[in-house]
Protein backbone atom coordinates (compact mmCIF):
# COMPACT_ATOMS: atom_id res chain seq x y z
CA UNK A 1 0.00 0.00 0.00
CA UNK A 2 1.32 3.45 -0.93
CA UNK A 3 2.42 5.50 2.03
CA UNK A 4 1.46 9.15 2.12
CA UNK A 5 4.30 11.65 2.01
CA UNK A 6 4.95 12.92 5.52
CA UNK A 7 7.19 15.65 6.88
CA UNK A 8 8.39 15.24 10.44
CA UNK A 9 8.81 18.78 11.68
CA UNK A 10 10.07 19.71 15.12
CA UNK A 11 10.97 22.95 16.86
CA UNK A 12 14.13 22.42 18.90
CA UNK A 13 15.97 24.42 21.52
CA UNK A 14 19.27 23.93 23.30
CA UNK A 15 17.39 23.67 26.62
CA UNK A 16 16.20 20.23 25.57
CA UNK A 17 19.63 18.94 24.65
CA UNK A 18 19.26 16.38 27.46
CA UNK A 19 16.88 14.38 25.26
CA UNK A 20 18.18 15.19 21.78
CA UNK A 21 20.45 12.23 21.18
CA UNK A 22 17.91 9.67 22.38
CA UNK A 23 15.25 11.34 20.27
CA UNK A 24 17.34 11.47 17.07
CA UNK A 25 18.18 7.81 17.55
CA UNK A 26 14.42 7.20 17.72
CA UNK A 27 13.80 9.35 14.60
CA UNK A 28 16.42 7.42 12.69
CA UNK A 29 14.78 4.09 13.50
CA UNK A 30 11.29 5.36 12.74
CA UNK A 31 12.43 6.68 9.35
CA UNK A 32 13.54 3.17 8.45
CA UNK A 33 9.99 1.96 9.12
CA UNK A 34 8.22 4.94 7.59
CA UNK A 35 10.37 7.00 5.20
CA UNK A 36 9.70 10.65 5.98
CA UNK A 37 11.71 13.85 5.67
CA UNK A 38 12.82 15.61 8.83
CA UNK A 39 12.81 19.39 9.30
CA UNK A 40 14.24 20.85 12.50
CA UNK A 41 13.67 24.48 13.41
CA UNK A 42 16.22 25.55 15.97
CA UNK A 43 15.04 28.49 18.06
CA UNK A 44 17.99 28.57 20.46
CA UNK A 45 19.54 31.96 21.31
CA UNK A 46 22.20 31.68 18.59
CA UNK A 47 23.33 29.33 15.84
CA UNK A 48 25.79 27.28 17.92
CA UNK A 49 23.29 24.54 18.58
CA UNK A 50 22.68 23.95 14.87
CA UNK A 51 26.20 22.62 14.44
CA UNK A 52 25.84 20.35 17.45
CA UNK A 53 22.59 18.88 16.14
CA UNK A 54 24.18 18.29 12.73
CA UNK A 55 26.78 16.24 14.55
CA UNK A 56 24.08 14.18 16.25
CA UNK A 57 22.35 13.58 12.92
CA UNK A 58 25.59 12.27 11.51
CA UNK A 59 26.13 10.05 14.56
CA UNK A 60 22.67 8.50 14.20
CA UNK A 61 22.91 8.32 10.43
CA UNK A 62 20.06 10.65 9.64
CA UNK A 63 20.60 11.90 6.12
CA UNK A 64 17.17 12.91 5.09
CA UNK A 65 16.95 16.10 7.13
CA UNK A 66 17.13 19.89 7.04
CA UNK A 67 17.83 22.24 9.89
CA UNK A 68 17.06 25.95 9.99
CA UNK A 69 17.67 28.50 12.67
CA UNK A 70 14.91 30.89 13.71
CA UNK A 71 16.21 34.00 15.38
CA UNK A 72 13.76 35.15 18.00
CA UNK A 73 13.93 37.40 21.06
CA UNK A 74 14.34 35.45 24.26
CA UNK A 75 15.28 35.63 27.91
CA UNK A 76 15.98 39.18 29.04
CA UNK A 77 15.52 40.59 25.54
CA UNK A 78 11.81 39.82 25.64
CA UNK A 79 9.20 41.45 27.85
CA UNK A 80 7.23 38.20 28.10
CA UNK A 81 7.75 35.72 30.91
CA UNK A 82 9.80 32.60 30.25
CA UNK A 83 6.83 30.23 29.84
CA UNK A 84 5.10 32.45 27.37
CA UNK A 85 8.34 32.93 25.47
CA UNK A 86 8.62 29.16 25.11
CA UNK A 87 5.08 28.94 23.74
CA UNK A 88 5.75 31.77 21.31
CA UNK A 89 9.02 30.20 20.13
CA UNK A 90 7.32 26.88 19.53
CA UNK A 91 4.35 28.43 17.74
CA UNK A 92 6.52 30.57 15.47
CA UNK A 93 8.67 27.53 14.70
CA UNK A 94 5.56 25.50 13.88
CA UNK A 95 4.50 28.26 11.52
CA UNK A 96 7.85 28.18 9.75
CA UNK A 97 7.49 24.42 9.37
CA UNK A 98 4.00 24.99 7.97
CA UNK A 99 5.39 27.39 5.35
CA UNK A 100 8.08 24.91 4.28
CA UNK A 101 5.49 22.13 4.27
CA UNK A 102 3.14 24.06 2.00
CA UNK A 103 5.97 24.94 -0.35
CA UNK A 104 6.45 21.24 -1.05
CA UNK A 105 4.10 18.38 -1.89
CA UNK A 106 3.79 16.74 1.51
CA UNK A 107 0.45 15.20 2.38
CA UNK A 108 0.80 15.29 6.15
CA UNK A 109 2.89 16.93 8.82
CA UNK A 110 3.96 14.95 11.85
CA UNK A 111 4.65 17.20 14.79
CA UNK A 112 6.82 15.23 17.18
CA UNK A 113 8.33 16.89 20.24
CA UNK A 114 11.96 16.12 20.76
CA UNK A 115 11.56 14.80 24.30
CA UNK A 116 9.06 12.09 23.37
CA UNK A 117 10.25 8.58 22.59
CA UNK A 118 7.82 6.38 20.67
CA UNK A 119 7.67 2.94 19.02
CA UNK A 120 8.86 2.91 15.43
CA UNK A 121 5.46 1.88 14.03
CA UNK A 122 3.81 5.01 15.49
CA UNK A 123 3.63 6.97 12.28
CA UNK A 124 2.05 4.03 10.47
CA UNK A 125 -0.63 3.85 13.13
CA UNK A 126 -1.41 7.56 13.06
CA UNK A 127 -1.56 7.64 9.26
CA UNK A 128 -3.89 4.64 9.27
CA UNK A 129 -6.21 6.34 11.73
CA UNK A 130 -6.12 9.61 9.78
CA UNK A 131 -7.11 7.82 6.60
CA UNK A 132 -9.82 5.72 8.24
CA UNK A 133 -11.88 8.74 9.28
CA UNK A 134 -10.45 11.30 6.86
CA UNK A 135 -9.46 13.31 9.93
CA UNK A 136 -7.81 16.69 9.57
CA UNK A 137 -5.74 16.16 12.68
CA UNK A 138 -4.90 13.15 14.80
CA UNK A 139 -3.67 14.25 18.21
CA UNK A 140 -2.12 11.53 20.32
CA UNK A 141 -2.15 12.59 23.94
CA UNK A 142 0.51 11.41 26.32
CA UNK A 143 1.54 12.15 29.87
CA UNK A 144 3.16 15.32 31.10
CA UNK A 145 6.86 14.73 31.74
CA UNK A 146 7.02 16.34 35.16
CA UNK A 147 3.56 15.86 36.70
CA UNK A 148 2.56 12.24 37.43
CA UNK A 149 -0.75 11.04 35.93
CA UNK A 150 -1.37 14.36 34.23
CA UNK A 151 -2.35 14.24 30.57
CA UNK A 152 -0.50 16.53 28.19
CA UNK A 153 -3.00 18.11 25.82
CA UNK A 154 -0.39 19.95 23.75
CA UNK A 155 0.51 18.87 20.22
CA UNK A 156 3.21 16.50 21.56
CA UNK A 157 2.48 13.92 18.88
CA UNK A 158 0.15 15.18 16.20
CA UNK A 159 -0.42 14.37 12.57
CA UNK A 160 -1.86 17.20 10.45
CA UNK A 161 -3.38 16.69 7.07
CA UNK A 162 -2.31 19.08 4.33
CA UNK A 163 -5.84 20.42 3.91
CA UNK A 164 -5.78 21.59 7.52
CA UNK A 165 -2.50 23.46 7.17
CA UNK A 166 -3.61 25.10 3.95
CA UNK A 167 -6.49 26.60 5.86
CA UNK A 168 -5.15 27.34 9.33
CA UNK A 169 -2.00 29.04 10.53
CA UNK A 170 -0.44 28.30 13.91
CA UNK A 171 -0.12 31.98 14.71
CA UNK A 172 -3.12 32.98 16.80
CA UNK A 173 -4.90 35.99 15.33
CA UNK A 174 -5.30 37.86 18.59
CA UNK A 175 -8.55 39.73 18.93
CA UNK A 176 -10.52 37.72 16.40
CA UNK A 177 -12.59 36.10 19.14
CA UNK A 178 -14.14 38.00 22.05
CA UNK A 179 -12.91 35.40 24.58
CA UNK A 180 -9.37 35.31 23.24
CA UNK A 181 -6.61 36.36 25.59
CA UNK A 182 -3.59 38.15 24.18
CA UNK A 183 -1.31 35.27 25.16
CA UNK A 184 0.79 32.66 23.38
CA UNK A 185 0.00 30.06 26.04
CA UNK A 186 -3.19 28.99 24.37
CA UNK A 187 -2.06 29.06 20.73
CA UNK A 188 -2.64 25.32 20.30
CA UNK A 189 -5.98 25.49 22.08
CA UNK A 190 -7.09 28.26 19.72
CA UNK A 191 -5.95 26.27 16.74
CA UNK A 192 -8.31 23.46 17.80
CA UNK A 193 -11.12 25.89 18.59
CA UNK A 194 -10.98 27.26 15.07
CA UNK A 195 -11.39 23.75 13.73
CA UNK A 196 -14.34 23.13 16.02
CA UNK A 197 -15.92 26.38 14.94
CA UNK A 198 -15.59 25.36 11.30
CA UNK A 199 -16.99 21.91 12.21
CA UNK A 200 -13.85 20.19 10.94
CA UNK A 201 -13.30 16.61 11.98
CA UNK A 202 -10.33 15.74 14.10
CA UNK A 203 -9.55 13.21 16.74
CA UNK A 204 -7.77 13.02 20.07
CA UNK A 205 -6.57 9.59 21.03
CA UNK A 206 -4.88 7.79 23.86
CA UNK A 207 -3.33 4.36 24.16
CA UNK A 208 -2.90 3.65 20.46
CA UNK A 209 0.82 4.31 20.62
CA UNK A 210 2.35 2.42 23.51
CA UNK A 211 4.68 2.98 25.26
CA UNK A 212 5.37 6.70 25.04
CA UNK A 213 8.24 8.02 27.12
CA UNK A 214 8.06 11.72 27.80
CA UNK A 215 11.59 12.37 28.97
CA UNK A 216 12.11 14.57 32.00
CA UNK A 217 15.27 16.62 32.47
Amino acid sequence: MKKIKVLIGTPIHVSKDYSMERWLDNVSKLQQEYPADLLLIDNSPNTDYVEKVKGYCEKYDIKNYKIEHLDILQDQESSKNIDEQIHERITRSEELIRKRFLASDYEAYFFWENDIIIPIDSLDKLVQLMESGNFMIVIHNCWVNNIPNHINFDFGLTLFKRECLEKYSFIPAFGTDPDMQDSWYHAEGWFKKRLQKDKCNYTEVMGIIEPIYHLPK
Binding site: Q128, G133, F135, L195, C200, N201, Y202, T203, E204, M206
Partner: protein, 206 residues
Protein backbone atom coordinates in the same frame (compact mmCIF):
# COMPACT_ATOMS: atom_id res chain seq x y z
CA UNK B 1 -19.72 -5.80 12.94
CA UNK B 2 -22.56 -7.07 15.04
CA UNK B 3 -23.60 -4.12 17.18
CA UNK B 4 -26.08 -3.73 20.00
CA UNK B 5 -27.66 -0.34 20.49
CA UNK B 6 -28.19 -0.26 24.23
CA UNK B 7 -29.79 2.61 26.09
CA UNK B 8 -30.90 3.24 29.67
CA UNK B 9 -34.26 4.98 29.60
CA UNK B 10 -36.20 6.97 32.17
CA UNK B 11 -39.60 8.59 31.88
CA UNK B 12 -38.09 11.97 32.74
CA UNK B 13 -36.74 12.10 29.19
CA UNK B 14 -40.10 11.39 27.60
CA UNK B 15 -39.89 14.85 26.00
CA UNK B 16 -37.24 13.48 23.62
CA UNK B 17 -38.36 9.87 23.32
CA UNK B 18 -40.49 9.95 20.18
CA UNK B 19 -38.01 12.01 18.20
CA UNK B 20 -35.22 9.72 19.33
CA UNK B 21 -37.06 6.47 18.49
CA UNK B 22 -37.84 7.81 15.05
CA UNK B 23 -34.10 8.43 14.69
CA UNK B 24 -33.35 4.87 15.90
CA UNK B 25 -35.76 3.44 13.34
CA UNK B 26 -34.06 5.32 10.49
CA UNK B 27 -30.57 4.40 11.68
CA UNK B 28 -31.49 0.71 11.95
CA UNK B 29 -32.49 0.77 8.28
CA UNK B 30 -29.03 1.97 7.38
CA UNK B 31 -27.13 -0.21 9.83
CA UNK B 32 -29.10 -3.23 11.08
CA UNK B 33 -28.36 -3.48 14.79
CA UNK B 34 -30.24 -5.04 17.67
CA UNK B 35 -31.75 -2.64 20.15
CA UNK B 36 -31.97 -3.08 23.91
CA UNK B 37 -33.77 -0.58 26.10
CA UNK B 38 -33.28 -0.67 29.87
CA UNK B 39 -36.13 1.18 31.49
CA UNK B 40 -35.34 2.35 35.00
CA UNK B 41 -38.46 4.39 35.62
CA UNK B 42 -40.17 3.55 38.93
CA UNK B 43 -43.00 1.09 38.09
CA UNK B 44 -43.52 -0.64 34.78
CA UNK B 45 -46.07 1.69 33.19
CA UNK B 46 -43.48 3.44 31.00
CA UNK B 47 -42.56 0.16 29.34
CA UNK B 48 -45.97 0.08 27.71
CA UNK B 49 -45.60 3.66 26.52
CA UNK B 50 -42.27 2.70 24.95
CA UNK B 51 -43.79 -0.29 23.21
CA UNK B 52 -46.40 2.02 21.74
CA UNK B 53 -43.74 4.40 20.45
CA UNK B 54 -41.73 1.54 18.92
CA UNK B 55 -44.85 0.31 17.12
CA UNK B 56 -45.57 3.84 15.92
CA UNK B 57 -42.11 4.23 14.38
CA UNK B 58 -41.93 0.73 12.96
CA UNK B 59 -39.19 -0.58 15.25
CA UNK B 60 -39.54 -4.34 15.42
CA UNK B 61 -36.06 -5.47 16.37
CA UNK B 62 -35.99 -4.43 20.02
CA UNK B 63 -36.10 -5.70 23.59
CA UNK B 64 -37.15 -3.82 26.70
CA UNK B 65 -36.02 -4.79 30.19
CA UNK B 66 -37.24 -3.05 33.28
CA UNK B 67 -35.04 -2.48 36.33
CA UNK B 68 -36.75 -1.42 39.51
CA UNK B 69 -34.63 0.83 41.72
CA UNK B 70 -35.24 2.86 44.83
CA UNK B 71 -37.05 5.96 43.49
CA UNK B 72 -34.61 8.12 45.46
CA UNK B 73 -31.59 6.61 43.73
CA UNK B 74 -29.49 9.28 42.01
CA UNK B 75 -29.68 9.29 38.19
CA UNK B 76 -25.98 8.53 37.69
CA UNK B 77 -26.27 5.35 39.73
CA UNK B 78 -29.41 4.28 37.84
CA UNK B 79 -27.61 4.85 34.56
CA UNK B 80 -24.49 2.96 35.64
CA UNK B 81 -26.53 -0.01 36.85
CA UNK B 82 -28.51 -0.02 33.61
CA UNK B 83 -25.28 0.10 31.61
CA UNK B 84 -24.06 -2.89 33.53
CA UNK B 85 -27.20 -4.77 32.48
CA UNK B 86 -26.47 -3.86 28.87
CA UNK B 87 -22.89 -5.00 29.29
CA UNK B 88 -24.02 -8.38 30.61
CA UNK B 89 -26.36 -8.75 27.65
CA UNK B 90 -23.49 -8.06 25.24
CA UNK B 91 -21.24 -10.59 26.95
CA UNK B 92 -23.94 -13.26 26.98
CA UNK B 93 -24.44 -12.80 23.26
CA UNK B 94 -22.01 -12.50 20.40
CA UNK B 95 -21.96 -8.77 19.84
CA UNK B 96 -18.76 -7.16 18.63
CA UNK B 97 -19.57 -3.76 20.04
CA UNK B 98 -22.00 -1.73 22.08
CA UNK B 99 -23.37 1.50 20.69
CA UNK B 100 -24.13 3.67 23.69
CA UNK B 101 -26.66 6.22 22.54
CA UNK B 102 -28.54 8.43 24.99
CA UNK B 103 -32.22 8.91 24.35
CA UNK B 104 -31.93 12.68 24.00
CA UNK B 105 -29.32 12.75 21.23
CA UNK B 106 -30.35 12.97 17.60
CA UNK B 107 -27.69 11.89 15.13
CA UNK B 108 -27.29 11.31 11.37
CA UNK B 109 -28.39 7.89 10.19
CA UNK B 110 -24.93 7.03 8.82
CA UNK B 111 -23.32 7.41 12.26
CA UNK B 112 -22.89 3.72 12.97
CA UNK B 113 -21.42 3.11 9.53
CA UNK B 114 -18.82 5.81 10.11
CA UNK B 115 -17.92 4.77 13.65
CA UNK B 116 -17.70 1.07 12.89
CA UNK B 117 -15.49 1.77 9.88
CA UNK B 118 -13.02 3.71 12.03
CA UNK B 119 -13.18 1.12 14.81
CA UNK B 120 -12.43 -1.74 12.46
CA UNK B 121 -9.60 0.07 10.72
CA UNK B 122 -7.40 0.00 13.79
CA UNK B 123 -9.14 -2.34 16.23
CA UNK B 124 -9.79 0.62 18.51
CA UNK B 125 -11.58 -0.03 21.76
CA UNK B 126 -13.66 3.10 22.26
CA UNK B 127 -14.70 5.74 19.76
CA UNK B 128 -16.28 8.75 21.32
CA UNK B 129 -17.71 11.40 18.99
CA UNK B 130 -18.02 14.53 21.06
CA UNK B 131 -21.30 16.28 21.28
CA UNK B 132 -22.18 19.28 23.38
CA UNK B 133 -23.64 19.50 26.82
CA UNK B 134 -27.38 20.14 26.64
CA UNK B 135 -27.35 22.68 29.47
CA UNK B 136 -23.98 24.43 29.34
CA UNK B 137 -23.35 26.22 26.01
CA UNK B 138 -19.98 25.47 24.45
CA UNK B 139 -19.15 22.67 26.88
CA UNK B 140 -18.36 19.27 25.35
CA UNK B 141 -20.34 16.31 26.62
CA UNK B 142 -17.84 13.90 28.13
CA UNK B 143 -20.30 11.13 28.92
CA UNK B 144 -21.03 8.09 26.75
CA UNK B 145 -23.89 10.01 25.10
CA UNK B 146 -22.90 8.73 21.68
CA UNK B 147 -20.10 6.20 21.86
CA UNK B 148 -19.07 2.92 20.24
CA UNK B 149 -17.36 0.49 22.61
CA UNK B 150 -15.85 -2.75 21.40
CA UNK B 151 -16.44 -6.06 23.17
CA UNK B 152 -12.87 -6.34 24.42
CA UNK B 153 -12.91 -3.67 27.18
CA UNK B 154 -16.44 -4.71 28.17
CA UNK B 155 -15.12 -8.17 28.96
CA UNK B 156 -12.69 -6.66 31.44
CA UNK B 157 -14.40 -3.68 33.00
CA UNK B 158 -17.88 -3.10 34.35
CA UNK B 159 -19.95 -0.08 35.21
CA UNK B 160 -20.52 -0.83 38.87
CA UNK B 161 -17.93 1.37 40.47
CA UNK B 162 -15.73 -0.29 43.04
CA UNK B 163 -15.21 2.60 45.40
CA UNK B 164 -12.00 2.62 47.37
CA UNK B 165 -10.09 0.52 44.87
CA UNK B 166 -8.02 3.46 43.81
CA UNK B 167 -6.55 6.21 45.96
CA UNK B 168 -8.30 9.46 45.21
CA UNK B 169 -11.45 7.84 43.85
CA UNK B 170 -14.48 9.73 45.05
CA UNK B 171 -17.50 7.83 46.28
CA UNK B 172 -19.75 9.24 43.61
CA UNK B 173 -21.56 7.69 40.67
CA UNK B 174 -21.12 10.62 38.35
CA UNK B 175 -18.35 10.41 35.74
CA UNK B 176 -18.60 6.60 35.71
CA UNK B 177 -17.80 6.80 31.99
CA UNK B 178 -14.60 8.72 32.65
CA UNK B 179 -13.66 6.09 35.21
CA UNK B 180 -14.32 3.33 32.67
CA UNK B 181 -12.03 5.01 30.14
CA UNK B 182 -9.32 5.41 32.77
CA UNK B 183 -9.48 1.71 33.55
CA UNK B 184 -9.16 0.86 29.87
CA UNK B 185 -6.09 3.07 29.50
CA UNK B 186 -4.51 1.77 32.68
CA UNK B 187 -4.80 -1.70 31.26
CA UNK B 188 -2.95 -0.73 28.10
CA UNK B 189 -6.08 -0.19 26.04
CA UNK B 190 -6.94 2.79 23.90
CA UNK B 191 -9.68 5.20 23.01
CA UNK B 192 -10.23 7.89 20.48
CA UNK B 193 -12.30 11.02 20.74
CA UNK B 194 -13.51 12.44 17.48
CA UNK B 195 -14.72 15.93 16.75
CA UNK B 196 -16.77 16.80 13.72
CA UNK B 197 -16.96 13.31 12.22
CA UNK B 198 -20.58 12.89 13.25
CA UNK B 199 -22.50 16.04 12.55
CA UNK B 200 -24.86 17.39 13.45
CA UNK B 201 -25.56 15.92 16.88
CA UNK B 202 -28.54 17.52 18.56
CA UNK B 203 -28.61 17.13 22.33
CA UNK B 204 -32.25 17.80 23.15
CA UNK B 205 -33.10 19.65 26.33
CA UNK B 206 -36.86 19.91 25.96
Amino acid sequence: MKILIGTPIHESKDYAMERWLENVAKLQKEYPADFLIIDNTPGTHYVETLRGYCAKYGITNFQIKHLEFDPMMEPDERISRSREEIRQHILENDYDAWFSWESDQIIPTDTLNKLSKVMESGHYMIIHPNSWDRVLPGEPDISFGVCLISREPLKKFGFLLEFGLEPGMRKAWNHGDVWFKKQVLKDGGNYIEVFGLIKPIYHLNK
